[in-house]
C-alpha cells in the first residue's frame, strides 16, 4: 500500500520536475539579462562587458539630484515618475469606466446598429496608432491639447477602448441572463442589478483589464514621445529615450539604473494583482 503510494507521488513529481527544468532553461537568458542590468547599475566599469569591477552608487544619483547627461541637465526623475503614474492611472480609470459601460451595452442591450458596432470595434483595434499620428497631431493642436498629458491620455484611451470593451463584453457574456433576471424579480432596478450582481461577477475580468491597461499606459512611448515636448510633462519612457538621444555617448550605467527604476512599479503591481488575475469566480448556476 504505502510503497504503491510513494511510487505514485514520485511518478507525479517527475513530470513537474521536468517542466521546471525546461522552463528554467527557457527563462535563463531573460533572467541573466536582468541580472546583468542590476549588476551593471551598481558598477563603474564592466570588464569584457560581463565582469563587474568596483561598487558605486554613482549611477543612481538621479534619484536625489539632477543629473547632467551630454551637457544637458535632465529633468527630475520624480516629475517623470509622477507623470507616468498619472498617465497610466488616468488611462486605466477612463478605460475601465468607458469599457465597462460599453461592454455591458454590447453584451446585453439590443439596439439598432449593434452588429455593425461590434464589427467596427474590431476594425478600430486593428488600426496601428502610427498611422494616425499626423491626424492626431492636427486634432490635438486644434483642441489646444498638444504638449499636454491629458491630450495624450484621451488619445490613448480612444485607441484602447475597442479592445477593452471587447474583452469586458466577453466577461459579461458569461454572466447568465437568469441571474440578472432573478435580481429583477427580487426587487432591483436594472441599474441596481448591474452594480450589485453583475459587476461583482465580472470582477476578475475587470481586474485583468485594469492591470493590462495600467501596464499599457506605463510602457506607452510613441504617443508621448511625439506629442509631449516640455520637460515638466516628461514621462519615464521619454526620460529613458533622452538618456540615449546621442548614440555615441551613452552612459550604460545610468541607463541600467533608470531602467530598473522604471521596472520596479510594474513588479510591485504584479505582485499585488496576480492573485486577482488568477482568481476566477465560480458561478452558482447549473450550466453557467
Amino acid at each position: 500500500m504505502t510503497g504503491g503510494r510513494a511510487l505514485n507521488t514520485k511518478k507525479s513529481r517527475l513530470p513537474s520536475a521536468g517542466a521546471y527544468v525546461i522552463l528554467g532553461i527557457i527563462t535563463l537568458p531573460i533572467i541573466l539579462m536582468y541580472l546583468w542590468l542590476l549588476i551593471n547599475s551598481f558598477t563603474s566599469q564592466m570588464k569584457h562587458g560581463v565582469i563587474p569591477t568596483g561598487f558605486t552608487l554613482e549611477n543612481w544619483k538621479f534619484l536625489w539630484s539632477n543629473v547632467v547627461v551630454n551637457g544637458t541637465e535632465m529633468p527630475s526623475i520624480w516629475t517623470a515618475t509622477l507623470n507616468s503614474l498619472l498617465f497610466a492611472g488616468a488611462l486605466t480609470v477612463l478605460e475601465l469606466v468607458v469599457g465597462i459601460m460599453a461592454g455591458y451595452a454590447l453584451s446585453r442591450l439590443n439596439f439598432p446598429g449593434r452588429q455593425g458596432l461590434l464589427k467596427t470595434t474590431m476594425l478600430l483595434h486593428a488600426f496601428p496608432s502610427v498611422a494616425l499620428l499626423i491626424a492626431v497631431f492636427y486634432i490635438l493642436n486644434f483642441l489646444g491639447l498638444f504638449d499636454s498629458l491629458w491630450g495624450v491620455i484621451l488619445v490613448k484611451t480612444a485607441l484602447q477602448i475597442p479592445m477593452t470593451a471587447w474583452i469586458i463584453k466577453g466577461f459579461f457574456d458569461d454572466v447568465s441572463w437568469d441571474v440578472e433576471w432573478a435580481g429583477l424579480i427580487d426587487g432591483c432596478t436594472r441599474f441596481k442589478v448591474w452594480h450589485t450582481i453583475v459587476i461583482p461577477l465580472v470582477k476578475p475580468g475587470i481586474a485583468a483589464v485594469s492591470i493590462f491597461s495600467f501596464l499599457a499606459g506605463w510602457s506607452e512611448f510613441l504617443l508621448l514621445y511625439t506629442f509631449i515636448l516640455s520637460d515638466e510633462n516628461i514621462t519615464l519612457a521619454s526620460y529613458l529615450q533622452k538618456l540615449m538621444s546621442n548614440p555615441n555617448v551613452i552612459n550604460y550605467g545610468v541607463l541600467s539604473a533608470v531602467s530598473i527604476f522604471y521596472m520596479i512599479p510594474v513588479l510591485i503591481f504584479f505582485i499585488f494583482t496576480q492573485k486577482s488575475l488568477m482568481q476566477v469566480s465560480a458561478t452558482g448556476g447549473k450550466g453557467v
Binding site: 447568465s176 437568469d178 433576471w181 429583477l184 424579480i185 427580487d186 426587487g187 461577477l201 465560480a282 447549473k286
Partner: protein, 354 residues
C-alpha cells in the same frame, strides 16, 4: 391573487410563436402545474408572468389589473429558475436575504426571516457557504428559500425539484404544498414529470408547441383526456392505444383491428384478464414482470403491444393466448387524424354491418 391570461402570444422570431394564443385563469390561492414536453413554452410563459418578457400579444391581469407593462420588481413575485440563478458571490444566507434587503426590511429581521426560510428547506446548517460549495439539489433548495422568503403574491417555480433525489423530492413537494396552503400563495409550477404535476397541483395545464391543450384537475386529466396527446402524456404506465373498431355482439363488444379506424385508449389499470368486462379482445402474452404487489403483463393484441396488471400469482409462458377485457365506459376514443377525444359510440359497429 387571481391571474388571468388572455390570448397571450410571445414570439422570438418572426413567423413562429413560442407561446401561442394562451388563455387561462388561475384562481386566488390555486396551485397550477404547467406540464409539457421540452421546448413547449413553459419557461417562456413563466417569464411573461414574471414580467421579464413582454407578451407580443394579448393581456395578462393580476387581480383584474392589466400588468403587461409593470416592471418585475413591482410585481411582488418569487421565482425559482430552472438554472437556480443564485448569486455566486453571496453566501447562502445573503442570497436568501437579498429580496428582503430590496424591500428595506431591517437587518435583524432580515436575518431571522432568512434563517427561518433556510430551515424550512432543511439548509439551516449551510447558510455560511457559497453556492458553488453546494450540491445541485442544495442549490435548488436555496433558490426555493429565496423565492419564498418575502412571502410573494405569486410564486413561480420552474422545475424546482428536478435535481433532488426521490425521497427529497417527495419531502420538498409536501413542504411546498404545505407552505403554499399556509400562506395561500398563488403558485405556478413547471414540471416535466406528470406524476409530480398530478400529485401537487389543483389544476394542471398541459402545453404543446406553445399552445394550451388541456387545463383541468388531475383527475379529469387522467379520466377524460381531451386529446390523444394528453392521454399519451398522463399516467404511468402509459395508456394503451389500439387502432380499430368495436363490433357489437349482444351485450359485449369485440375489438377488431382496423388501421383506418379510431384510436381506442385503455388505461393499463382498466384492462383485465378474463372476460368480465364488456369490451373483449384476444391477446398473446409476451412478458410477465413481477412488481411485488402485482404483475405487469405485456401482451400483443394484433400488432399492438399493450400492458396491463394481473394478480401477483399469475404466471404465463410467452405466446400463451389469453382473453382480456375492459368496461366500455373506461375506453377513450380519439379521432385518428385530429387526435380529439370522441364519443365511444362513434367507433361501435353493428355486427351485421360488417
Amino acid at each position: 391573487m387571481k391571474i388571468e391570461l388572455k390570448q397571450v402570444c410571445k414570439s422570438f422570431t418572426k413567423g413562429s410563436n413560442a407561446v401561442n394564443d394562451l388563455s387561462m385563469t388561475i384562481k386566488d390561492g390555486e396551485f397550477v402545474a404547467l406540464l409539457g414536453p421540452s421546448g413547449c413554452g413553459k419557461s417562456t410563459t413563466m417569464l411573461m408572468l414574471a414580467g421579464i418578457y413582454k407578451p407580443t400579444g394579448g393581456m395578462i391581469y393580476f387581480d383584474d389589473e392589466p400588468i403587461n407593462h409593470v416592471e418585475p420588481k413591482d410585481r411582488n413575485i418569487g421565482m425559482v429558475f430552472q438554472s437556480y440563478a443564485l448569486y455566486p458571490h453571496m453566501t447562502v444566507l445573503e442570497n436568501i436575504m437579498f429580496p428582503l434587503k430590496q424591500m428595506k426590511v431591517p437587518k435583524a429581521e432580515r436575518i431571522v426571516r432568512a434563517q427561518a426560510a433556510a430551515e424550512q428547506v432543511q439548509l439551516g446548517h449551510l447558510t455560511a457557504r457559497k453556492p458553488s460549495q453546494l450540491s445541485g439539489g442544495q442549490q435548488q433548495r436555496v433558490a426555493l428559500a429565496r423565492a419564498i422568503v418575502k412571502k410573494p403574491r405569486l410564486l413561480l417555480l420552474d422545475e424546482p425539484l428536478s435535481n433532488l433525489d426521490a425521497r427529497m423530492k417527495i419531502e420538498m413537494r409536501e413542504e411546498i404544498r404545505q407552505l403554499q396552503k399556509e400562506i395561500g400563495i398563488t403558485t405556478v409550477m413547471v414540471t416535466h414529470d406528470q406524476e409530480e404535476a398530478m400529485t401537487i397541483a389543483d389544476r394542471v395545464a398541459v402545453m404543446k408547441d406553445g399552445s394550451l391543450i388541456q387545463y383541468s384537475t388531475p383527475m379529469e386529466l387522467y379520466n377524460r383526456a381531451s386529446n390523444l396527446f394528453v392521454a399519451q402524456f398522463i399516467g404511468t404506465p402509459p395508456m394503451n392505444f389500439l387502432k380499430g373498431d368495436l363490433v357489437k355482439a349482444g351485450d359485449t363488444y369485440a375489438y377488431k383491428e382496423n388501421a383506418h379506424g379510431s384510436v381506442l385508449g385503455i388505461r393499463p389499470y382498466d384492462l383485465k384478464l378474463g372476460n368480465q368486462g364488456n369490451v373483449v379482445m384476444n391477446a398473446t402474452i409476451s412478458l410477465v414482470e413481477p412488481l411485488g404487489h402485482s404483475n405487469l403483463v405485456s401482451a400483443r393484441i394484433g400488432d399492438t403491444l399493450v400492458r396491463f396488471f394481473a394478480e401477483s400469482s399469475y404466471q404465463a409462458e410467452r405466446g400463451t393466448a389469453v382473453v382480456c377485457s375492459a368496461d366500455l365506459h373506461s375506453v377513450s376514443v380519439f379521432d385518428k387524424d385530429s387526435g380529439y377525444s370522441q364519443n365511444v359510440e362513434s367507433c361501435i359497429k353493428e355486427a351485421f354491418a360488417v
